[in-house]
Symmetry: C2
Subunit: 343 residues, 2 copies
């Protein structure tokens, strides 16, 4: 019989927490016991997993006894508070937040891109930011094919990337608009209904937002290209689920559109939908609730000899969060990497 | 007394036509008689101009007798049908459509960028595509400051760029969503409510859309930089009014952010709103119904030594259409360029 594991979800009541429950069930993850953890304000909620109703417990430092794998989507502060306790109990702590991503002792992993980085982990493993997760498979293919020399990304990020409350805010603002009421803004920095906000996460001293710097730094780390020339402009758009990216790449070697298209199509995570003459391309609404990273609008960059433009779309709650987290856990199991040393 | 002119608006009942009426009134354009022209399906409508109600007439080849200036926002086919008649009657035909923009005998003009191109016109003058109009003042400033070597643009274009029916479609789809009805799509190629469409105008053989090629070719023509390395990805977003652009530029010379910011701020069309530490930046909702080209998020490009990223937003119905058209007419009057020779 297949071995089964004790799994805890930390931040179970959030948008990604719910996707984690759905993903574990859908992929028949080998679970012995499933423990749902959240902050005090969400405790005692009942959440459905397969045919069971599970009660959410308040997390504390003793929550991780006998747990093999923690899937954490609780945000940065909670992750920092509890990762150490979990790891000291011997649990692998796979974290969705920004808390540990750039820590040199923490692998930052999309399994199909750099799964081998999971070897010799020390308990904490980081899941990349959603905008990074869908970008790096595409960049990896192009880097392997012809050598990336420069990457320019403009994002079109859905409100689900900012959590359940941001989705409710878009929904509420649209209802207010429909009923001709004043539009109120509480969660996002400005009105998002019928608007765009070029401001995701905090502003830094260099004028970039933290979100933009995440895409830059995380891509460099995952691709093992610390000097990769890459820049990003991150924009929130009034879409519920599905992040889109307009990506321009420069390549070292000359390759044809067909080589680019075929190489991308061969990657297990990527689905190419790209026939301009039949007007075939992907939109975020079509990508939502499905697993692939979709690539469309592949064309020669008119501003560069060895450049290409691409349109990259994915369900940010899946490959960008829950699905990738679960795949990391599956990889750890498959390659017998659940045991780790703390030093 | 200031000289007054006989003006005709061709396509008066459309979204840009209505903006033309508002703009002529707001700017106190020196009008002797104003004639409203449209296709047979819109004739006999009454439109308000200042305190008068004017009746729309059906356009025909005799509509332009005694007209000094035609402001055309009727689309490509109608423009091609009537421009010759207008010009033969001695009228200047200032066209908002794509019909004549790349014609070497037709100046393509944003007056504050290349007004001098209006000298020696032959009657027909073209107004750039809305995405180009707001981009070229910014590019012109940067080219003059430090020499543009490469431009990469990703657009976030509002539905008003596709006309009144597209605005109604967004509005209707949102209402359908609100009332839990099936969402219907008639005007735009896919659902636009809570979605993005990377497909504006027709697809061409090279995988670009016509909209993207317009931005590329028109920018080159207006800047007198036929070899400028420039590329574009054009995306429709669920915003009613206001086009946004994520722009990355490479410059020949090294300049500081302050030099870039100050040079942009000095241009008469541009308003810089850019204080990241106070989270000050523009969104399309804030830019709508105002005249400037707003520039925010100015920062050093992390992928290039002499590069910058910028966020450029403007009301596409104003600088991108009606306002620029009227300013071309004002320039012709101011510099005594209404008379022209046909050869």
């Amino acid at each position: 019989m297949e071995k089964q594991y004790n799994v805890a979800i930390l931040g179970a009541t959030g948008k990604v927490g719910q996707e984690l429950l759905r993903t574990l069930s859908e992929r028949n993850f080998p679970i012995k016991n499933l423990k749902l953890l959240a902050s005090s304000k969400s405790k005692d909620q009942n959440l459905k997993f397969k045919d069971e109703l599970l009660t959410v417990e308040e997390v504390n430092n003793n929550s991780f006894k006998d747990i093999d794998i923690v899937l954490a989507s609780s945000g940065e502060d909670i992750a920092k508070l509890y990762a150490k306790s979990a790891v000291e109990e011997g649990a692998c702590f796979i974290d969705n937040s920004n808390a540990f991503r750039m820590d040199t002792n923490v692998p930052l992993v999309v399994p199909e891109v750099n799964g081998e980085d999971l070897k010799n982990h020390r308990g904490i493993i980081a899941n990349p930011n959603c905008s990074t997760s869908q970008l790096v498979p595409v960049l990896k293919v192009l880097d392997d094919l012809a050598g990336l020399t420069r990457v320019i990304v403009s994002t079109y990020q859905s409100v689900s990337g900012a959590g359940k409350e941001a989705m409710e805010e878009l929904s509420e603002q649209v209802s207010q608009w429909h009923t001709k009421m004043d539009i109120t803004t509480k969660i996002l920095p400005k009105q998002i209904a019928f608007n765009l906000i070029p401001h995701i996460d905090k502003f830094l001293d260099n004028g970039y937002t933290k979100e933009e710097i995440k895409v830059i730094n995380e891509s460099r780390k995952i691709l093992h290209r610390p000097d990769l020339l890459i820049t990003c402009t991150a924009v929130r758009v009034p879409v519920f689920v599905g992040h889109s990216e307009s990506v321009t790449v420069d390549l070292k070697q000359t390759v044809s559109i067909d080589e680019v298209r075929d190489s991308l199509a061969r990657h297990s995570l990527i689905k190419v939908i790209d026939d301009p003459l039949k007007a075939e391309y992907i939109t975020p609404l079509e990508a939502a609730a499905s697993d692939p990273v979709y690539v469309s609008r592949i064309r020669k960059d008119t501003s560069s000899i060895n450049g290409f433009n691409l349109w990259v779309v994915s369900d940010n709650l899946r490959i960008g969060a829950a699905l990738n987290t679960v795949k990391i856990a599956e990889y750890l199991i498959k390659y017998n990497l659940l045991n780790f040393s703390l030093v």
